[in-house]
Amino acid sequence: MTKKRSQLIAEGSDWTLEAIAQYDAEIGRVARNYGLDTYRHQLEIITAEQMMDAYAAIGMPVYYHHWSFGKHFLETENRYKRGQMGLAYEIVINSDPCIAYLMEENTLTMQALVIAHAAYGHNSFFKGNHMFKQWTSADAIVDYLVFARNYIAECEERHGVDAVESLIDACHALSNLGVDRYKRSPPLSLLKEKARQQEREAYLQAQVNDLWRTLPRRDLVVEEAEERRFPAEPEENLLYFVEKNAPLLEPWQREIIRIVRKIGQYFYPQRQTQVMNEGWATFWHYTLLNTLYDEGKVSDGFMLEFLQSHTNVVYQPPYNSNWYSGINPYALGFAMWQDIRRICERPDDEDREWFPDIAGSDWRETFDFAMRNFKDESFIAQYLSPRLMREFRLFAVLDDDSKPNLKVDAIHNTQGYRTLRQKLAEQYNLGSSDPNIQVWNVDLRGDRALTLRHFAHQRRPLADSSLVVLEHMASLWGFNVRLEHQARNGDWVLLAERKTERRRQA
């Protein structure tokens, strides 16, 4: 035991498996002292090239094959080779056991940073946050991805690569409208999925024939039938609607739509908790490694290297900088968690006024509550403090296309705090940043045309690319698809229409 001579865990900048294991053990010990509750985890050492592979597949260890992932890979490879970007230090997978990737190029310090950040920070967030708990099941995801890849490969063999590819293209185009935003979907379970798959194929095929039943039932009054809309309630999940109701799809096509939909749903919480999640992981790597330093387990050189990359990560360029591209979620998240801890430990009068509940409370308990029960939008609305708004020098700009000028409608002063906080929270509301498009009606008695309605938020129009997406929608639906939006006078008018007439091939 060399530790008798020196308290340091390991020295030098080259990593070895033993040193990584030692660091992991020490970081884990400190994390448990802080009461972090995590899934078991597994560290995987990979090369830069494998990291780019992982990028292309959104970090997933297995994924089905599709040209768009190839495109992302080429893009990443190109930019990496030209030196336009460094690779992220870490990718972590929300699974049980939680998988964290370590890149072989990194120094020992960076590996320790990644372990603290991903294997303890993100990991505990995945396990605790209600969004992840409700919408994803960490123990099933990897199995499900394996199932998905095998299933899709099988379909490619049976029905041809092109048919599957164009189907997945269409699904990807609709994937951000293929999630349930409000309704909670049942958690994934591979066993159930497999068992039910056969059953579902037969059942679905029977179900969709509702659309084919064109003869009115005798006991129905004709006028009533004309009034009736299908679906009775507008449906926000377009892929779900197509999967269940498109008349001409084969069972395997429905299953693939379901796969894309399920995976999209799995990523939905990540999109909604970026600031919180990254901030949380950053806070914990900062806290855990500093604690190790205080205990004398890591050297000054280690800390210098660590702080250098830490400060790069949490840098927030101002609005007029060339590097500015919106608010850095790492910076905002880290600052907010640090600030909450400060409010708990060293509150001043302003904090007592704004946060009477948590000022002076136990910070670990407050943290736990905040981490479990919020998403970005509500987290910011709840915890962004006036002090932080001053530190970030935040200001809100209103861009109304009916006015000639932009207007600053709130800045970091007493009158502005509440507006600013509310606007910033709104900015993280996916409900308003994704267009709200819903299935409004299917013309059951006529040409089976599907009508979508775009409910504009703040008069924001749809981008031109939407027309291409409509084409994909039409190819899935198999009949005409119309997109309506509300004109200024409140009437619903046709925005675009895509005609398809696909007949079942004999």
Binding site: H41, D53, A57, Y324, G326, V397, I411, Q427
Partner: protein, 423 residues
């Protein structure tokens, strides 16, 4: 509890290669177009490397429903250094990164060309996609196998030049240790006894003498162990491995008479380089013979072939005769796959063209795998073309001719000549 660390560096290096292949497959049309453009742009000589390929961004975008510009937008920005509540400012030009404007436009909108690099193999795959060398099979079946000598470990017998010193000396050292071991052990024991005896008895005692005798005897025996023994000798072993002969020779015949100007020669050069690259993919070893001719033919090196300029009339048959001669001298057609490519502006001494046809039909075509003739001319076909037409009709599998008017035709003509044929 120790953490599980998995070293994944060794497995599945190219996880994305399938996806990458899918991408290339999907955009093959565009990529091939880009490849063809690339050839027009750069010298053929550096075709060997990979190529940066651009595909229009719009084609490969993945559209999604997005908000467009317009409506009411509210954004919060950091780093306020001058604004007070209620300030108004002009809207910055759209798409700019200035204050208040939205972020860069979403996917699919105004995206630049998507540029990526094809590896050399991918590039050439697309480049020569669906092309095949004609008559490859026939000669492969008839070809004589060559032999190549390969190392194959060590043997105990062989010729002195093949003695492997390291192995031999290592074996000898091992043997000496093994045989000398018991002597050394006894020697150490006797020496210890001798020292013990010397302490007790005077040096001239009988006991001491006996021990000394025995030690001397043992030393002599140990010395007698041979430093090297025939048993130790090791020879490097080489065996003969049958080596399929995949060598080809390519004859480039070009007219350098006064009517072939620099532009025409450039086109011919490009054609020859394409052919060279293509053969390179099929054969391990390729030799190129350059024959230029006006009224008489000569074999020249590459530089002279493309750059020197001659004047005078044209007698094409002189080049064909030289080609036959060279084949006879250096490339017996059993061991070589022979390809011929002839470029000319078609201008020939009128009486000579029938001679050319006869030479080709009787002496050359039986020897070669394929002979291609390209006529570089913008106008009407010349007399050589008409003569060769008969050949093309009767010897379709072995002979083909095409016309090139401008640089843009080179690649299509090349593809046409080497298109995969279903025989």
């Amino acid at each position: 509890m120790t953490v599980r660390i998995v070293d994944r560096r060794q497995d599945s290096r190219n996880k994305s290669s399938i996806n990458r292949g899918r991408f290339i497959r999907r955009f093959k049309g565009q990529i091939r177009q880009a490849v063809a453009d690339a050839i027009a742009k750069r010298g053929i000589r550096d075709l060997e490397s990979g190529e940066k390929i651009g595909v229009p961004g719009r084609d490969i975008s993945e559209p999604q429903f997005h908000h467009g510009q317009g409506g009411v937008r509210e954004r919060v920005h950091p780093g306020n250094d001058r604004f007070a509540q209620g300030d108004e400012m002009a809207r910055p030009p759209s798409g700019g990164q200035g204050q208040g404007s939205g972020k860069a436009s979403p996917d699919g909108e105004g995206m630049d060309e998507f540029v990526f690099t094809l590896t050399r193999d991918e590039f050439l795959d697309i480049f020569f996609d669906e092309l095949a060398l004609p008559n490859l099979v026939k000669r492969q079946l008839a070809r004589i196998d060559d032999f190549k000598r390969m190392r194959a470990g060590y043997t105990q017998n062989g010729v002195p030049t093949n003695i492997n010193l390291v192995r031999t000396m290592r074996g000898a050292a091992g043997r000496r240790v093994a045989i000398g071991g018991p002597y050394a052990a006894r020697l150490r024991r006797l020496q210890a006894e001798l020292e013990a005896a010397l302490d007790l008895v005077p040096p001239d005692a009988e006991e001491v003498e006996r021990l000394q005798r025995e030690i001397a005897c043992l030393k002599a025996q140990r010395e007698a162990i041979p430093f090297i023994d025939p048993f130790d000798l090791r020879y490097s072993n080489r065996i003969r491995v049958p080596q399929p002969s995949t060598q080809a020779v390519m004859f480039c015949l070009m007219d350098v008479s006064g009517s072939m100007d620099e532009a025409k020669k450039q086109m011919a050069k490009r054609f020859f380089m394409l052919l060279y690259l293509f053969l390179n993919r099929n054969y391990e070893h390729i030799e190129v013979v350059f024959i230029r001719h006006h009224t008489s033919a000569e074999e020249v090196d590459e530089d002279n072939f493309f750059h020197s300029r001659e004047t005078g009339g044209t007698i094409v048959s002189s080049a064909l005769k030289l080609m036959i001669e060279i084949i006879g001298e250096r490339y017996s057609s059993q061991a070589w796959n022979i390809y011929g490519a002839q470029a000319s502006d078609g201008d020939n001494w009128n009486d000579d063209s029938p001679v050319c046809r006869k030479l080709l039909a009787e002496s050359i075509l039986p020897l070669v795998q394929y002979f291609a003739y390209i006529e570089i001319t913008e106008g009407e076909p010349q007399n050589l073309w008409y003569e060769y037409q008969e050949l093309a009709a009767s010897q379709g599998g072995l002979f083909a001719q095409q016309r090139i008017a401008g640089p843009a035709d080179i690649y299509p003509v090349f593809r046409e000549l080497f298109r995969k044929r279903l025989v």
